[in-house]
Amino acid sequence: MPDSSDQEIVEKAVGGDAKAFRLLVERHQSFVYKLAHRFVGERDDAEDITQESFVRLWKNLNRYRPEIKLTTWLYKIVTNLCLDFSKSKYNRQSNRSVELDDHRGMISAWSADQPLLDEELRLAVEKLTADFSPKQKAVFVLRDLEDLSMQEISEILSMSPGKVKSNLYYARKKMSELIPVYYQVKKPAKP
């Protein structure tokens, strides 16, 4: 079974083979967790979404169609769960516009240490995307972070290509206007 393709394993799992399903979980849980974390930004929430994604996959295995890649299907399940999660979080937050003065210079990195800079960038992006609408965030994550094609994103989100482009435009526009505010690298003074 280790060399079996996803399709073969899914067909066994459809028949109720829990061992086959376990193999699917071991193969894909890392990618599912990473994707969920990109959306929600918290370890515990990402783990809960990962678990729920595979449970949903198990419950809907009988709907599997071989012409669709398993990863595409998983993208759809995870994205829908993350959207539901984001929507409930988004609705709980008050409508506020990002106040530049509140955040100016909040994150700054002295050090030339790349991992630190990368982590600061990640935090900055997470703060910014928290103010995106769920759909803008979904499109941004799938296109700019996961590098999926527009066609795949359209399929996963059940959105027309025009709407995908529109959401992507607004997400990128906000990002390019605000990222210099959130993320400033202070270069050390020359001796």
Binding site: V25, Q29, S30, K34, E47, L168, R172, K173, M175
Partner: protein, 190 residues
């Protein structure tokens, strides 16, 4: 092309066709403010594309696998017992539960009773009059027992010709006067 359309194309540069990119470039050559927007947008996209780190990995993948498989096994168990659960759900007012309890109790009492009576008078059979040949249980032992019981009850029951012959045969008395009388009577009727 105006600046509004150019700005939109700048932010969707990766998604443009070759022709749209050429048109955008021609506009940027003439418009410095759009060029500045382009530089900022490209810098942001470059950072996101090449500098943005992957999220931290899961703490323990084996634990996650176990969590998922435990839930899957629970679901598998629930599927087979769903009908059972629906019928016997833990609801205080479920009448079916009480009906089944009463029936079970009755069956237990009936079988215990049968066992203690040695199966001689089955409780569940309808109690007809114990006249042989009339609606008696199919159990031949019961038929015979019913006959004996009926005989003993009413001593004035005249033995039938058959009884007489059987008894005489058993006692080896071919000259039984009773049998002869009965036979004569039977012939007269014929």
């Amino acid at each position: 092309m105006n600046c509004s359309e150019a700005e939109r194309r700048i932010h969707l540069y990766r998604e443009l066709t070759d022709r749209e990119r050429e048109e955008t470039q021609r506009h940027l050559e003439k418009c410095s403010s759009c060029t500045q927007i382009m530089e900022r947008a490209f810098e942001m996209q470059w950072m996101i594309r090449y500098q943005y780190p992957d999220p931290p990995p899961m703490e323990d993948e084996a634990v996650m696998t176990r969590r998922i498989m435990n839930t899957v096994h629970e679901l598998q168990g629930k599927k087979t017992s769903s009908l059972f659960r629906r019928l016997f759900a833990n609801q205080f007012n479920n009448p079916l539960r009480y009906a089944m309890a009463v029936v079970s109790l009755f069956l237990v009492v009936a079988f215990v009773n049968e066992y203690s009576m040695g199966n001689k008078t089955p409780l569940l059979y309808k109690r007809y009059r114990l006249v042989p040949g009339r609606k008696t249980p199919l159990n031949s032992a019961s038929f015979h027992d019913a006959l004996i019981a009926a005989k003993e009850k009413s001593k004035d029951i005249t033995p039938s010709l058959y009884d007489c012959v059987v008894n005489c045969l058993n006692s080896q008395d071919p000259d039984c006067a009773d049998c002869k009388n009965k036979l004569q009577n039977a012939n007269k009727k014929i």
